[in-house]
């Protein structure tokens, strides 16, 4: 049952990621990225991370991807034109990417062959409470710094989006 669910979600995630690269129109890429994020939320649930799974759906698939689609609609994005300028990128790129993948997989398989050490506390179901306790005790300073980061991001977005007085268009 677990294996079936894993392969279902992993298949959706991989298909979505490949489709993201394959599609020429950015709106289809955005929709396949939403599929990837939904599948990843399912995998998070299987890994006992309920809070992260729900936040993934709400923040990533909800807020961030809506922002992407919104901008795509605003700029009226057309299908991208393939120029095929670089011969080197075409010939050297795929082997290098394959090498990177083989390298990462080799390291992971060497270090974590088939380990599955599940800590009992992770399956007790009070996931959100534990995260909340950690966030407001051990990680209080990073949490507060994050609020400053978001404030800066809001101000940056507003300043960038504002029309300048000397802007004739």
């Amino acid at each position: 049952m677990d294996a079936v669910l894993f392969f279902l979600f992993a298949g959706i995630a991989l298909a979505g990621a490949i489709n993201l690269i394959r599609e020429s129109h950015p709106i289809y890429s955005a929709l396949s990225l939403v599929a990837v994020m939904g599948a990843l939320a399912g995998l998070y649930l299987m890994l006992g991370a309920e809070f992260i799974a729900v936040v993934q759906i709400i923040v990533y698939a909800g807020a961030i991807m809506v922002l992407f689609v919104f901008v795509l609609m605003l700029v009226n994005a057309a299908p991208e034109v393939k120029l095929d300028r670089s011969k080197m990128a075409k010939n050297v790129g795929p082997p290098l990417l394959t090498l990177l993948l083989v390298e990462i997989v080799a390291v992971l398989r060497g270090k974590y062959p088939t380990s599955d050490l599940v800590h009992p506390s992770l399956l007790s179901g009070d996931n959100t409470r534990q995260i909340g306790k950690l966030l407001f005790s051990k990680f209080l300073l990073p949490f507060e710094v994050t609020s400053i980061l978001i404030l800066v991001a809001i101000m940056g977005a507003v300043v960038l989006g504002k029309r300048r007085p000397d802007d004739s268009r």
Binding site: A13, A17, I21, F68, V75, I104, Y112, D116, L117
Partner: protein, 100 residues
């Protein structure tokens, strides 16, 4: 039970696909989406390691990655809007002001 290494390998494959998209795609918004894909792949390995070690700190890390990704998306998309306003193009090859 599913070995944790399967999750890690899936995460590696997704990350490499994100790198490939980042290098192949010419539309700046799709390049941005590839970055999000890479962030998601790394989040998956964080959660898998957290599961393996029974450690909630991994979840906190994923939480912070998501927050930073949200802030990055807001600022990045504002820059893309401005770029489109000035250049009337989304092609990364047309943005060459910093090219030496």
């Amino acid at each position: 039970m599913i070995p944790v290494s399967w999750y890690l390998i899936l995460s590696a494959v997704l990350f490499v696909l994100g790198v490939a998209g980042f290098l192949i795609k010419r539309n700046v918004i799709t390049v941005f989406m590839s970055i999000e894909l890479m962030l998601n792949a790394v989040n998956l390995s964080f959660v898998a390691f957290g599961y393996m070690l029974g450690d909630y700190n991994a979840h906190i890390f994923v939480f912070f990655v998501m927050v930073v990704a949200a802030a990055e998306a807001a600022v990045g998309l504002a820059i893309i809007m401005l770029m489109y306003h000035n250049r009337k193009s989304l092609n990364v090859d047309d943005i060459e002001l910093l090219k030496f």
